[in-house]
């Protein structure tokens, strides 16, 4: 029991963060067909901008979080309009643009504040202790925010007009356009939404584990694993795949030492993909 509750909390916190970031990546891919490999650095940038608002400008953490989401979502619109849309359908150029964005943002943040260890101020402090079990309020809040946001996103995608338009575009972009859906506007919105979610995860993880200019690199690997495991085109699959990866990352280090745990985590994902090449919830791609 002593080990079980912290492990369960770890699974939930990690999973919710993986899902938040991966969801933005998958949304943009589904709606605009863009593999945004710069999604990890946007997550990192969110953490640093949040830090700037809350620590440098001295704003309340919650207000800083809100402003960060607005700034990063606007940046998402900029990226979609000027970096991705002109190269839509051109995989090589999109990847090159993403690499350029990664290098510029990582180096820029590294030059400005990279040599100092910074953390986003904790949203709440203190530890909840029940008997032998103890969990920090910070982790409870991180999970609660993540879970609430995921609920809102599910509702948004399934219940609102814009969400349904996003689904329509992801199913058949030409048919959606013929129905009068403004594909560019929805793509820009998906990019803003995805970047905004990554920014929230960046701030939450920045408070939980600290900030680093290269924190996005590790997260991008996790996002790619979640997206592949979920299956192409599956937003629902992201939730399940995020939970699977979160569980693997929270449980394996308890039993397996060092880098082997990371390797085994990837091996488990490969085995799942061997059994279901289309991912857990994806559909077969027609070649």
């Amino acid at each position: 029991m002593e080990q079980l509750v912290p492990t369960l909390t770890n699974i939930l916190v990690l999973s919710s963060m993986y899902i938040l970031v991966a969801l933005g990546f998958v949304l943009l891919f589904n709606v605009a067909g863009i593999l945004n490999f710069a999604h990890g650095v946007i997550y990192m940038l969110g953490g640093y901008i949040g830090f700037a608002f809350s620590v440098v400008c001295g704003l309340n953490q919650w207000l800083a979080l809100l402003l960060t989401v607005i700034v990063i979502a606007s940046f998402g619109v900029f990226l979609e309009r000027f970096c991705f849309r002109p190269f839509a359908g051109d995989f090589n150029r999109t990847v090159t643009i993403c690499i350029a964005i990664i290098v510029i943002l990582e180096t820029g943040v590294n030059i400005i504040g990279g040599t100092k260890i910074l953390t986003f101020p904790a949203f709440v402090e203190g530890i909840l202790r029940i008997g032998h079990v103890s969990v920090s309020h910070e982790r409870i809040v991180t999970f609660a925010i993540g879970a609430a946001l995921l609920g809102i996103i599910i509702w948004f995608i399934n219940r609102t007009k814009w969400g349904q338009q996003m689904q329509a575009i992801s199913q058949d972009i030409e048919a959606a356009a013929l129905q009068g859906i403004n594909v560019h506007r929805i793509s820009a919105f998906a990019s803003a939404l995805g970047c905004g979610l990554a920014a929230i995860a960046g701030c939450l993880m920045g408070a939980y584990i600290g900030l680093s200019p290269f924190m996005g690199d590790f997260m991008l690997v996790k996002v790619l694993i979640v997206a592949i495991l979920a299956g192409v085109g599956s937003i629902g699959g992201v939730f399940f795949a995020g939970l699977v990866l979160g569980a693997i990352d929270a449980i394996l280090p308890l039993f397996i030492s060092g880098a082997a745990s990371s390797a085994i985590a990837v091996a488990i994902v490969i085995v799942i993909l061997l059994i279901r090449p289309q991912g857990l919830f994806g559909h077969e791609m027609e070649m």
Binding site: Q3, P6, T7, T9, N10, V13, L14, T107, N110, G114, T115, K116, I117, L118, T119, A122, E125, I127, R129, S134, V135, S136, R139, M205, Y208, I209, G210, S212, P213, F214, D217, F218, M219, V221, K222, D249, A250, I251, L252, P253, L254, S257, G258, A259, A260, S261, S262
Partner: protein, 405 residues
């Protein structure tokens, strides 16, 4: 008449002789008073994940080089040499180290190199050793090929993993005499099979034993809560002994441990300041955590190190991370060059190997490490600084004597 003629001839010979010799002697005198430049390569990660560690150290090394130049530079046979550091970015990768070392050795023809840091040092050997290039890593984590019997031209000029572990174990023994059993924690950076047995011997020498297997975490660990849970589950221990670590890793593990109600003393064998641990874990959780870092304003610090710290803080701010490992290596190199009275790497190497003590920026250091490093007199150990949190303030915990067998 004849004697007058011969005296005239002698006078003419003397005059001609003066005319010939004067410019030569004058040139020589002027050459000796004129300072030359000694270019020393510097392998530093200006980009990539390791730049967090390397940029502050490189900035401090530059300050040390300026200080040496202000003091007259390096004097060899009456000739003064001013140091010019030639940095090359190794981009936080082994490939980058090889490329940067090639540029320093083959393109720029340099004979002495400061850096790189830690396990990256292993990538310099195949280029430097055949070319007899002396290099002084700014840290080693004790993986093969950094400084050992396979690297005849690599010298360690500062306290690194082994020396820090020795100093930290001594502090643990002095400050927490009841601690007899520890949990050993380290990163999976390829050093586990080499460093674990050394750490065990270091601790055993102080009457402390390691309980259970080493707890090893991956370099790409995002969440350290499972590691903290694992440490907490290793029952019957009085403290944590963490080797080869960086501030955020320690901060996250400490945070996780305190959350689990575990308030054991935590020895983090690293040169980075407690400010990094406090930034992640908070002051309350950082109680009873100590590191092997220097503390600005420490009255017990040697004058030279104090001066470099003072200048660094004046230039980069009071919260700047102070490593001084590159500065220490550069200062050691100056001492050895002046003792050798030569800029020939082979002579400098032989001189270093013949020395028993060396004046480091932290005071007198011992040239040692023959048994543990497997090479005679290639490692310098100086007193180990300890940094602690006392009454909510980061202060010096004193200097521990270090000798590496």
């Amino acid at each position: 008449m004849k004697s007058m003629k011969s005296s005239s001839i002698i006078s003419i010979i003397i005059l001609v002789g003066w005319m010939v010799l004067l410019p030569i002697t004058a040139n020589k005198a002027s050459a000796q008073s004129e300072k030359k430049t000694l270019r020393i390569g510097e392998l530093v990660s200006l980009t990539g994940f390791f730049s967090i560690r390397d940029i502050p150290d490189a900035n401090e090394t530059k300050i040390a080089a300026d200080l040496i130049n202000e003091m007259g530079g390096i004097t060899i046979n009456g000739q003064k040499y001013l140091i010019e550091l030639v940095p090359e970015d190794y981009k936080s990768s082994m490939d980058g180290v090889a490329a940067a070392t090639n540029r320093l050795v083959y393109d720029k023809g340099l004979k002495f190199i400061i850096g790189p840091t830690a396990f990256f040092a292993a990538a310099t050997g195949p280029i430097c050793d055949p070319n007899k290039i002396i290099r002084i890593p700014t840290w080693v984590v004790h993986s093969p090929g950094e400084v050992d019997s396979s690297t005849p031209y690599a010298f360690l000029g500062c306290n690194a993993t082994v020396a820090t572990a020795i100093g930290m174990a001594e502090y643990l023994k002095q400050a927490y005499p009841n601690v007899k059993k520890v949990t050993y924690v380290t990163i999976d950076d390829g050093t586990v099979p080499h460093m674990s047995s050394i750490a065990e011997k270091i601790l055993n020498d102080k009457g402390i034993i390691i309980v259970g297997k080493p707890i090893v975490y991956s370099n790409d660990t995002l969440d350290f809560s499972p590691i903290a849970a694992k440490i907490n589950a290793n029952k019957g221990t009085d403290a944590v002994f963490h080797v080869n670590c960086v501030g955020p890793q320690v901060g996250n593990i400490v945070k996780g441990l305190r959350e689990l109600g575990n308030n054991m003393p935590y020895a983090a064998c690293m040169p980075t300041s407690l400010t990094e641990v406090v930034a992640v874990a908070g002051k309350e959780a950082t109680k009873d955590v100590f590191v092997g870092a220097i503390t600005a304003g420490d009255p017990d610090m040697a004058p030279l190190a104090t001066e470099i710290c003072k200048r660094t803080i004046a230039q980069y701010g009071s919260d700047y991370t102070l490593y001084l490992t590159g500065a220490d290596g550069l200062w050691d190199l100056k001492q050895v060059m002046e003792k050798a009275q030569s800029l020939d790497p082979t002579v400098v190497k032989a001189t270093w190997e013949s020395m028993d003590t060396i004046e480091t920026i932290f005071g007198t250091g011992t040239v040692c490490g023959d048994e543990i490093f497997g090479i005679k007199h290639h490692v310098v150990a100086h007193p180990q600084p300890i940094q602690i949190l006392k009454d909510g303030k980061i202060v010096s915990g004193g200097w521990m004597p270090v000798y590496i067998p």
